[in-house]
Each structure stands twice: as C-alpha cells, then as structure tokens.
C-alpha cells in the first residue's frame, strides 16, 4: 500500500510555486473578489472578521517568534524545534484537560512546566555537550531534535488531530457585524500578559539583565562573573515555556495534531525575520502583521494560498531587507547568521 505522508512544509512550498506560476489566474480572482462587491457595511464587517482571525493567528506566530529570538540572542542559532514546543504544549494540554479532566488553570501550569523541562533537557543533552559549537552544527542538532520530538508526539498522541474545549464558553460574541470567539480574547490577553512579563524580566530583574548582557557581549559577560552556559539553558527553558503557552491557547481553535510544528515554526520564523532577528518587540508586531495578511489573503484571494503568504513575506524580506522591518542593517552585517 502506498500512502503519501502529509507534510505541511512541502505542501506550502508547493502552494508557493503554484502561486508564482498561476499569477495571472490569481490576479483575475483577486479582481473578481474585490471589485465584485460594493463597499457596503458587510465588507467592513468582513474585513473586521478577517482582522480578528488574523490577530488570533498572529499572536501565535508572535509567541513562536519570541521563542526564536530568545534562543537566537543567547546562542546565535535558530532553534528549529520551536514549532515542536508549540505542538507538545497543545497536545499535552489536550491530554490533561480532556482525558484527565484537570481544571484548565492547573493543566495550563503543568503543561508549561512540562514543556519547559523538555526545553531544559534539550539544551542539557543536545546543545551543551557539543565540544566545538558552531552555528551550523547547533542548527542541525535542533532539526534533529525537532524530528525526534515529532516522532515521539506521533507515538504518544497518534496521527489524528485533537479537540480541546475552549477556556471559557465557545459562544461567539457579536462585534460590529463580525463575530469574535472568547478564546480570541484570551489569546490576545495572554499575549499582552507575556509581553509585559517579558519587558519586566529583561529590564528589571538581574537574571534578565544578565541574559541581555550575554547576548550583547559574551566575553564581557563572562568576565563580569555571569555563567553563560546557564543563560543558554535559561533561554531554552523560557522559549520552550512560551512555545507551550502558544500551543495551549491556540489548540481550542485549530485542533492540534503532531505534524503542525513545522509550519507553525516556519511562520514564527518568518515573523522573527520580518521583525528583525533578535528584536522581540519587532517580532510581536511582525507576527500579528503576518497573521492579518494571511487572513486577508485567505478571505480575498483563496484560502488555499493562505500558507503561502507567510513564506512569500519571508522570501521578500530576505531578498529586499534581510535585517527585517525593525532591525538595524548595521547590526545585521556583524551577525554570523
């Protein structure tokens, strides 16, 4: 029996190719979709609806991008297992809430702690023991880890997607003709909460300042008595925790399965690059921006092209302005990767 595995990365690459080759068709479709309608109240509520959808997905990309940046700043590498943290967070939450019937706040804490431990274990057992760490070596290690985690997730949770109940009610709320899920409000609220925590941690606590110092100048930080290896471990722990939270809050809406990590990771990476690698505030704005553009594309062009948008943006940024929207081009020249 031959069966083709559904791989989101290959799929989106395929979509990307399609969108390049069938540009004329695409143009016609866009024209039909946009000019076919009068600018009525329903269009406005449509836009509003797409915005909500976009912001909701964008928040997830933003959280993934923060995770990328955190590890990038501490080690100079891109952690390709970031998407897997999101998936494990989501699936673990499903098990705890739907199978074990734990209350959501408790399950939330347990899941975050569990995935944070996975992040720590990943750093201790795969990154830390490398004798001559080069950027390329470490990146390949993270790819290997992502494959291992994906395989393990498939063994534990199977191949089907999992449903999870919403944090509060699943009833939609009306908002100027558009509908909004209470879960979306949760997502936005939790993103804001994490951003506030992030700012507080990196600007007002000694540990956060030490992490920043390590990112700015590794040798000088070590000479000030900061243990750089510990900071790397901490960055993995934090980014795994943030990834888990992203997975937890999105699962009620998208229904998590084991193979989602790669695409979530790549879109998060797109957000990180668009915002300027290493710049977390830029990543948040870029993440939401990508989410919104994606939703608009899904609404006005075709939902088939939705996944291509993030990748097209990623390519455009890499071609036109590799330092990203908010990164300084001077700093980019000094970066190794």
């Amino acid at each position: 029996m031959i069966w083709i595995q559904h791989d989101p990365v290959i799929d989106s690459g395929h979509i990307l190719l399609k969108s390049l080759f069938f540009y004329p068709v695409l143009k016609k479709q866009i024209r039909k979709n946009i000019t076919g309608r009068a600018m009525t109240e329903s269009t406005i509520s449509d836009i509003l609806q797409f915005m909500f959808m976009g912001i909701q997905r964008g928040c997830i990309y933003a959280l993934a991008a923060i995770g990328f940046n955190m590890i990038y700043n501490a080690t100079g590498i891109i952690n390709f297992a970031q998407g897997e943290f999101v998936v494990i967070g989501g699936l673990m939450m499903v098990t705890l809430t739907m199978t074990w019937n734990l209350p959501i706040p408790l399950a939330f804490l347990l899941t975050t702690a569990f995935v944070t431990l996975i992040g720590i274990a990943m750093e201790r057992f795969t990154i830390n023991p490398v004798k001559h760490p080069t950027v390329l070596r470490l990146i390949i290690i993270t790819i290997a880890v992502s494959i291992i985690i994906k395989g393990a997730a498939m063994c534990f949770w199977g191949k089907n997607s999992h449903f999870m109940r919403h944090f509060s009610s699943a009833e939609t709320l009306d908002f100027y003709g558009a509908t909004i899920l209470p879960q979306t409000i949760w997502i936005i609220g939790i993103l804001l909460f994490i951003v506030a925590g992030y700012i507080f941690f990196f600007n007002y606590t000694m540990t956060g300042k030490c992490m920043r110092a390590c990112a700015i100048n590794r040798d000088a930080a070590r000479l000030a008595g900061i243990n750089d290896r510990k900071m790397v471990m901490l960055s993995f722990a934090l980014s795994a925790g943030i990834g888990a939270i992203a997975g937890i809050i999105i699962t009620p809406i998208i229904q998590m399965d084991y193979a989602r990590g790669a695409l979530l990771g790549i879109k998060g990476f797109g957000a990180a690059v668009l915002g300027g690698l290493g710049n977390s505030m830029g990543a948040i704005i870029a993440g939401v921006l990508i989410g919104v553009l994606e939703a608009l594309a899904a609404g006005y062009i075709s939902s088939h092209y939705m996944d291509a948008i993030a990748l097209i943006i990623l390519l455009l940024v890499l071609f036109v302005r590799p330092s990203g929207l908010f990164g300084s081009s001077e700093a980019m020249r000094l970066k190794e990767f």
Partner: protein, 245 residues
Amino acid sequence: MLRLVNVNGYYGLVHVLKNVSMHIDEGEIVTMLGANGAGKTTTLRVISGLQPVKGGKIFYQDKEITGVPPEKLVELGIAHVPEGRQIFRPMSVYENLELGGHIIYKRYGKAQLKSDINGMFELFPILKQRQNQFAGTLSGGEQQMLAIAMALMARPKLLLLDEPSMGLAPMIIKEIFKLIAQLQKERKLTVLLIEQNANAALKIADRGYVIETGRIVLEENATALMSNQEVKRAYLGKDQKEIWE
C-alpha cells in the same frame, strides 16, 4: 600572588605563547611590553580563563587555576578589563555597573549592590552624571572609565588591564594612569598592565616584562627597564641617534 609556569597558548592554530613564565607579587603594578601580536593580550586571556591553556600551569594565591572558567575566577578576585572597552553598549551606565557587580548581588543582595554602585560614583563622578545614558553614547575616555569601574565592582584583588589608553587623547590617558596608580594604593590592588604606551606604563609600574613573539625576553624593575638601551630603542622611541652613531 599570580604565577605562570611554562604556559603555552594558541590563537586558533597559531602558537602564540611559548613557555611563558612570570609572577606577580601582592600589591605590585607589573607591566608587560611588547609589539603588536607578541602575545600580550593572549597572556591576559589565558590568565582570566577566556582562552584555554595548552601545556603549563597557572597558580593564583598558591592554588592552581588552570582551566577554571572566567566566571569562577571573578569570584576568586581576578578582574579582567579587556581591550577595546568591552562594555554593554545598548544598556545604561547604571545597568552596566549592576552587571559588573553581579557577584556582589549574588553574594550580598540588592542593597549592598546599590551602595557599592554609589561608592563607584564617588570614584567616578562623571559616571554618576551619565548613569541613565546608554553606555554606547559615552566618549572613549568615559567608556574606558566605565569598563574599569565595572571590573572594580566585583571587588577584585588582581586587576588585569589590557591597553586602557588605546585610542584616547593624551590628557585622558594621563587621567586614567593616575587613577590606576591611585587605585593600587587605596585598594591594595595588584595590577597587571598591558600597554602600547610604554612610557606611561613604566612610570607607574614597579616591574616589567618584555615579550617578543610569544617569549618573555626580559624581566626587570621599571626604572631599570626605562634605562635599558634595547627597551628604549624598541618601545620608548628614544635615543635612535645614539645607536646609529
């Protein structure tokens, strides 16, 4: 206080330090002279643990410290001010000092760190004025002072200074050397000073080593070095005529 025995060091594949042996006694200012690429900076990096020692041993207060990472050496009282003012430029001056005193914070807590920073402001009034500015916006001399202040925040016993005068105006160089001499007296610091500006360094130093292509070729007290014909010619830029005539 510090003893290097037959230390070898590599910079990538280049054999930079070849059997370097030297010692520094408590309370001394020792300077190391040498041309570019002779191995001065590597010597400091090897002592502070930033670079691995390949062959040879380093002793500090009669304990072996070969291979101990820099973050541990800071706790033992070795502070290294690397060349080129390695401060955290996108952070404020105050934050830089906090990070310099990171081990004080770990050991004694926040209140002690604060009072230490205030003590540092008395020593460097200019840093107090600039405390909320980004460190990268300071002038060269101020950045060097900040780098020294950061190292002092860790309450070191041994201070390793790598070219503190690099790229600074003569007036400011004078000020910084005055400061180093003053610190050594007031805080009973031991200083290992690496300088291109041999004149200024020998003036405040007790003893000096001359290093050439990774080997120590001369060890004398500072006044003897200053009158040494070869040192004069190669490092002090004096008496060229006498030699030619």
